[in-house]
C-alpha cells in the first residue's frame, strides 16, 4: 500500500515537475534571441541552430538547471546579444535608468514653465 502511495506521489510530482519545466522552457525560448535570424526569438525560429539550442535548453532544464543558470551559460558563449533582456550592468545603466531620469527632468521643466 505504501509502495503504491509512493509511486503515485512520484508520478503526481513529476507531472507538476514537467509542467513547471514546460513553463520555464516556454519563457526561456521567448527571451533568447535566434543568432542567425533577423530579430526573432528561439520560439519563433525554425533555423537549425535555433532547433539545436532549444533541445539543449530542454536538456539543461531536465537536468535541474534553472533559468538564470541557462541564460548565463548561453551568454558566456554567445555574448549578451543572445539575451533579449539586457543585463543590468555599468554599460547599460543609461538604458535602465534613463527613462526615470528623463521623466524627472521633463516634469521639472514643464511644471516650472506652466504650472502656477
Amino acid at each position: 500500500m505504501k509502495k503504491i502511495f509512493i509511486v503515485v506521489a512520484f508520478l503526481f510530482s513529476s507531472n507538476s515537475f514537467s509542467a513547471d519545466i514546460d513553463k520555464q522552457y516556454k519563457s526561456l525560448i521567448e527571451e533568447l534571441r535566434c543568432m542567425v535570424c533577423q530579430n526573432q526569438n528561439l520560439s519563433e525560429s525554425e533555423a537549425p541552430l535555433a532547433v539545436d539550442m532549444k533541445q539543449k535548453i530542454k536538456e539543461m532544464l531536465e537536468s535541474g538547471k534553472n533559468e538564470e543558470e541557462i541564460k548565463t551559460f548561453l551568454s558566456e558563449r554567445y555574448s549578451s546579444y543572445i539575451l533579449y533582456e539586457p543585463p543590468v550592468n555599468n554599460q547599460n545603466i543609461i538604458l535602465w535608468f534613463g527613462p526615470l531620469v528623463f521623466i524627472v527632468i521633463l516634469s521639472y521643466f514643464l511644471f516650472r514653465r506652466y504650472i502656477r
Binding site: K26, E30, E31, R33, Q38, N39, Q40, N41, S43, E44, E46, S79, S80, Y81, I82, L83, Y84, E85, P86, P87, Q91, N92, I94, L95, G98, P99, F102, I103, L106, S107, L110, F111, R113, Y114, I115, R116
Partner: protein, 627 residues
C-alpha cells in the same frame, strides 16, 4: 508602348521637381507679395503630377515591363493582378514614390482648405510643405528611382515576396503613410507659426482636425500592421517591439500627446510653445522612423534592402529639417505667451501629465531601439533589447496614464466636492468588483482588467447622468469613444495574454487531441496547385463536448520563386475567442506537427482601435463651439 510609360513616369518626376522649385521661388526670390499665386498654384499642381507618375508605375507592373529594375525585382508574370498592382509599393523605391504622392496630396488639401488663414501664415505654411515635398522627391530621383532600367532585360521577374502577397500589403503602407505624412502638415504649420508675432489660439483650433486626421490614419495603419502580423506570421503574436514597429509607434505616442495639448491651446491659449515644439518633434520622429527602416542601420524582419547612400541622404534631410526646425523654434519661442495659467488639478493639468507620460514612453522606446547602435558605435559589447525590456519600462508608464484617463469624467464633473467623492468611491468599488469576476491570477493581469473597467465604468456613469445635457454629450462623444476603445484594447491585450493556451503537438491523420475546451482532429491532408505556388492544406476539425464547431484549414505553401516554405495559419475567429492552427513540420506522409493557439478576446485589440478611430472622427465632426 509599355516602354514609353516608364519614360513618361520618370519625366513627370522631373516635372515635379521643377514644380516644387517654382513653388519656392516667390518665397525666396521676390518676397511675400508678388506671385504668391504661383506658390498656391504649384502647391495644388504637385499632386496630379505625382499621381499620374505613380499610375504610370502601376501600368508598368500590370503591363509586365521588366526592363524596369524595380518591376523585375518585385513582380512576375504569374502574379495575380491585384498583387501586380500593389507590388508597385512593395519595395523601397515604389513605396518612397507612394510617400511622395501622399505628401503631394496632403499639400493639395492644405492648399485648398487654408484659404481663410492669415495670409503670411498661409504662405509660410505652404512654402514649408513645398520644401518637404522637394526634399522627398529629390531623394527618390537621386537615390531611389523606381523607373531605373536594368542592364539586361530578364525574361520574367523575380516575383513578389510571398509574405507580401496578401491583403495586408494593399492597405497597411498607404494608411501608414497617410498618417506619417499628415504629421508633416502639422510640422509645417508649426514652423509657419514661428514666423508670426504671436500664436493665436484660433490657429490651434485650425490645425486640430489635421492632427486628428493624421492620428486616425496612423492608428489604422499600425492596427492593420499588427493584424497582418497576427494572421500571417504564424505564431499568434500581434506586437513584437521590432525596431520598425517602434518606428511607427513613437510618432503615434507623440501625436496622441499632441492631440491633447492642442485642445488646451485651442480652447484656452495654454501650452503654446510646448504644442509647437511637440509638433516639430512628432514629425521628426516620423522622419527618424523612415531613416531607421530604410538605411539598414538596424536589424529587423521588416527591413528593406539597405544602401548607405540612401541612409546618408535621409540623414542629411533629417539634420536639415529637424535641426532647422529646432533652430527656428528656439529663435522664436519666447514670443509665445500663454493666455492663461494652468493649475495641476484641472483638465489642462491632466493634459500636461498625459504629455509627460506619453513623451517619456516615446523616449524610452527610442532609447531601447537605439541603444544597441550606440554601444556598437562606441565599440562596446553588443546587446539586444527586446520584449522583456520594453514591457518592463513601458507598462509602468501606462498604468498611471490609464488611471488618469478613467478619472477624467469625475474631474470634469461640475458638481460639488462631496458628490465628486461619492462618484469616485462608487465607481472604484464597481470597477474592483467587476475586475474580480475575471478570475485574475496575477497582479499585472488585475491591473490590466481594473484599468479597463475603471475607464469604462467612469464613461458609462458620466453618460448615464448626462442624458439630459445633449450639448455636453455631443462635445464628449469623441472622447467617450476613443477612451472606450482604449479600454477595449487593454481588455483584449490583458485577457488574451493571460488566458492564452499555446501548444505544439504531433497528430496522425485521423487522430485528435484535446486542448483547453476544444478537441482538434486532423481529418485529412490535401494538395493544391495554385498559379504561383503549391500547397498542402490540412483539414482540422474542431469540436467541443463532441459537438462539431468548425473546420480550420492551415496551409504550408511553397511559392515557385522561393526556396523556403511559407506557413498560412488557419484561424477560426469569434469576438470572444480565436482558435488559431499553424502547420509545423511533416514528420511523415500522414503525420504532422501542429501549433495550436487558443486566444480569448484577442479581437478586442483591433476592435478597440476601431473605436479609437471612430472617436477621432467624431471629434473632427463635432467641433466645440468656442466663444
Amino acid at each position: 508602348m509599355i516602354i514609353e510609360i516608364g519614360y513618361i513616369g520618370y519625366f513627370l518626376l522631373l516635372l515635379g521637381l521643377m514644380n516644387c522649385m517654382l513653388l519656392l521661388t516667390p518665397k525666396f526670390v521676390s518676397g511675400l507679395n508678388v506671385s504668391s499665386n504661383i506658390l498656391l498654384s504649384a502647391s495644388k499642381l504637385h499632386f496630379p503630377i505625382l499621381l499620374i507618375s505613380f499610375i504610370c508605375l502601376i501600368v508598368t507592373f500590370v503591363g509586365e515591363d521588366y526592363s524596369l529594375d524595380y518591376v523585375a525585382k518585385n513582380s512576375n508574370s504569374n502574379l495575380p493582378l491585384i498583387y501586380k498592382i500593389s507590388a508597385a509599393w512593395a519595395g523601397h523605391e515604389g513605396s518612397m514614390l507612394l510617400w511622395c504622392v501622399v505628401s503631394s496630396f496632403w499639400m493639395f488639401l492644405a492648399s485648398i482648405f487654408s484659404e481663410d488663414l492669415h495670409k503670411s501664415l498661409r504662405i509660410n505654411f505652404l512654402a514649408t510643405m513645398g520644401i518637404l515635398n522637394l526634399g522627398f522627391l529629390l531623394f527618390v530621383v537621386a537615390t531611389s528611382n523606381p523607373f531605373d532600367r536594368t542592364m539586361t532585360v530578364p525574361i520574367d521577374g523575380s516575383d513578389l515576396n510571398p509574405l507580401l502577397q496578401d491583403f495586408g500589403l494593399i492597405v497597411h503602407p498607404p494608411m501608414l503613410y497617410m498618417g506619417y505624412v499628415g504629421l508633416s502638415v502639422v510640422f509645417s504649420f508649426a514652423i509657419a507659426c514661428c514666423f508670426e508675432s504671436d500664436f493665436k489660439k484660433e490657429w490651434a483650433q485650425w490645425i486640430r482636425p489635421w492632427i486628428l486626421a493624421s492620428w486616425s490614419f496612423l492608428t489604422l495603419g499600425i492596427a492593420l500592421g499588427s493584424w497582418w502580423a497576427y494572421y500571417e506570421l504564424g505564431w499568434g503574436g500581434w506586437w513584437f517591439w521590432d525596431p520598425v514597429e517602434n518606428a511607427s509607434f513613437m510618432p503615434w505616442l507623440m501625436s496622441t500627446a499632441l492631440l491633447h495639448s492642442v485642445i488646451a491651446t485651442g480652447e484656452k491659449g495654454m501650452f503654446k510653445s510646448w504644442t509647437i515644439l511637440l509638433s516639430i518633434f512628432t514629425f521628426s520622429l516620423s522622419l527618424l522612423g523612415t531613416f531607421l527602416v530604410r538605411s539598414g542601420i538596424l536589424i529587423s524582419v521588416h527591413s528593406f534592402a539597405s544602401d548607405p547612400t540612401r541612409g546618408i541622404f535621409i540623414l542629411l534631410m533629417l539634420l536639415a529639417l529637424i535641426g532647422g526646425g529646432l533652430i527656428i523654434y528656439s529663435m522664436n519661442s519666447k514670443k509665445f505667451v500663454d493666455d492663461n495659467e494652468v493649475t495641476l488639478f484641472s483638465k489642462e493639468g491632466f493634459f500636461l501629465l498625459n504629455n509627460i507620460l506619453l513623451v517619456t514612453a516615446t523616449f524610452t522606446i527610442l532609447l531601447g531601439t537605439m541603444y544597441p547602435l550606440f554601444l556598437d558605435v562606441l565599440g562596446l559589447e553588443k546587446i539586444s533589447v527586446g520584449v522583456p525590456y520594453y514591457n518592463a519600462v513601458f507598462i509602468p508608464l501606462m498604468i498611471p496614464l490609464m488611471l488618469l484617463v478613467g478619472y477624467i469624467p469625475i474631474l470634469l464633473a461640475r458638481s460639488s466636492k462631496n458628490s465628486q467623492v461619492i462618484q469616485l468611491v462608487v465607481i472604484l468599488i464597481l470597477s474592483i468588483i467587476l475586475s474580480l469576476t475575471f478570475s485574475v491570477s496575477s497582479i499585472l493581469f488585475f491591473i490590466g482588467i481594473f484599468s479597463a473597467t475603471w475607464i469604462i465604468v467612469n464613461i458609462l456613469y458620466d453618460v448615464f447622468f448626462s442624458l439630459d445635457n445633449k450639448i455636453k454629450l455631443k462635445n464628449r462623444t469623441g472622447m467617450y469613444f476613443a477612451h472606450f476603445g482604449l479600454a477595449i484594447f487593454i481588455l483584449g491585450a490583458s485577457i488574451s495574454e493571460n488566458n492564452k493556451i499555446e501548444k505544439e503537438l504531433v497528430l496522425n491523420v485521423g487522430e485528435s487531441k484535446k486542448i483547453g475546451l476544444f478537441e482538434y482532429k486532423l481529418e485529412k491532408l490535401s494538395e493544391l496547385k495554385s498559379v504561383n505556388y503549391d500547397a498542402i492544406i490540412a483539414s482540422v476539425l474542431v469540436s467541443k463536448d463532441n459537438q462539431f464547431i468548425t473546420e480550420i484549414n492551415p496551409e504550408k505553401r511553397l511559392y515557385h520563386s522561393s526556396e523556403s516554405p511559407m506557413t498560412e495559419a488557419g484561424i477560426h475567429g469569434r469576438i470572444d475567442r480565436d482558435l488559431y492552427v499553424s502547420l509545423g513540420n511533416m514528420i511523415d506522409d500522414n503525420k504532422w506537427s501542429l501549433r495550436i493557439y487558443d486566444k480569448p478576446f484577442i479581437r478586442f485589440i483591433w476592435i478597440g482601435t476601431i473605436f479609437m478611430i471612430i472617436g477621432s472622427i467624431f471629434s473632427i465632426r463635432f467641433k466645440k463651439k468656442l466663444s
